[in-house]
Every structure is written in structure tokens, then in C-alpha cells.
Amino acid sequence: MSLVARHLEANNIPTVVIGSARDIVEECGVSRFLFVDFPLGNPCGKPWDIEMQYSIIGGALELLERAWLPRTTIQRPEIWAHGDADKVWRERFLRVDDNNREELAKAGEMRRQAQAKNREAAQE
């Protein structure tokens, strides 16, 4: 998505990216990035929270007008949960630890076997 934003900018169409994967967007490099520090899935605000969503979109529109340099990131003030509850989703997503390492390796192996079988079937 950042690559598309960059292409539009290069063709003189101003853009703003609204997203939650800060590192991916900032490493790629876009003109304007509204960072919403939420779990992936709801970058434009919490479900059914119309007031929050309206405010976040207003922030994106304002950023369109007010940024004067590329790589402008604005972090929105909203937080997903307070205190320790906000750490839970951050730690849990794509977590790898001793409890699931073996299971992941096995799942990966099964996936590769299935893919190899599909390739064989495609060749026949």
C-alpha cells in the first residue's frame, strides 16, 4: 500500500496513509502517515465508535493539508486499552515462544509437503 502511495505522490496526487504497522510504512517511506497504535484490523478507529472514527478521519484530512515535508508521521492519541491490557495484544500477535515453537515447525513442514504435492499434481 505504501508503494501505491509513493507512486501517486510521484504523479502529483497527494496522499495520506492511515495504518497501524508503523515500521512497515515508515521504512518504505511515504509522504504522510497517520499512525493509529491499534491491533491490525481497525486503523480508522474502534468498531462502532463513530466519534473516534470521525476524529481519526478528520486527523487524516488535516494531515493532507498541513504536512510540509515527506515522511511526516502523526501518531493519534487514541489507545486500544489501558495499562497492562494494552500490552496483551502487542505480545500475543505472531508470538513465538517455547510453547508453540514445535507446533509452528510442524505446521510449516505440513504446509511445505502440501505445496510440494500440489506442484507434483500440477505437473502431471
Partner: protein
Amino acid sequence: MREGISHRTFVSYIDKSREYYRAYGYEKPYAWARYEDVPFAQLSKPLSQCRIGVVTTADQGPREAPRSTKLYSAPNSSRNELFREKSWDREATHTDDSDTYLPLTRIEEHVAAGTIKELNSRFYGVPTDYSQRLTVEQDAPQIATWAREDNLDAVILVPL
């Protein structure tokens, strides 16, 4: 509230996905795009006179549908009919409210409030693709062509 920390608080998806897929048995990590230079365009008119378009990574068809179906434009009336089988955080949240990732209703409210002039009558979908080459060579130019056809003054892009 102030607290002491020893790690950054925001999630690094580059770090996390690398370690996750390594545990899955994929030794060669994905090479994410990184550029030194960043292009920059300014609005050509006041925000309140602008016509705005939206790009989403949500799909018109299911995940296994061919790539050719994943670059599309669709009328705003189809906003609630999209497939969202992406790598979002299923344990933490849901995507039942389309305005959390495709904020057309909220943008319409900003039109009514006078923040902007217009929302485009269609939105654009772009594939989430392993291949950066296809995104750059095929998808991005098509989105730019549509944006010009629709006389857009600016575009909001929302990766799911």
C-alpha cells in the same frame, strides 16, 4: 501516566513476522521495501474544495481468488460486501464495522460538515502482494489512472 520501559512499545511487524516465519521453517526472511527518497505532492487547492478517493486492501473475492480479481474499483454501495481475509489480529478485534478499515461513511460525514467537498463515488482495491514488482509496475499505475479519471485531488490509503 508515566512508566519505565526497556523495549519500544509499538509493535515491529517486520521483526515479528520474520521470527514467526523462521519458526515456521522459512529461513530466508521477506525483504520489505525501503527507500531513501520519498516523493511529496502538496494539495493544489484548499481542503474544503477537494474531492477525495480511498484505496483499500480488502478484497472483492475470497483469499484464494486469482490475483487479477484483486485490483478493482467498486461503487461505494458495495462497502459492506468485501472479503477481509488478511493478516489482521483476530484475537484482539474484528472487522464487522467496515468504517474501521474503509471509512467511507465517516468521510461522507466530513463532506456534510464541509471539511472536504466530495467523496469519490467509487473506491479502489489493491492486492496485498508478496511481489513488490507487480505492485509498482501494475497496480500503482492503474490506481493513478483511475484517480485521474475521477478528478481526485487527494487519496486516502488504508492497509487492513
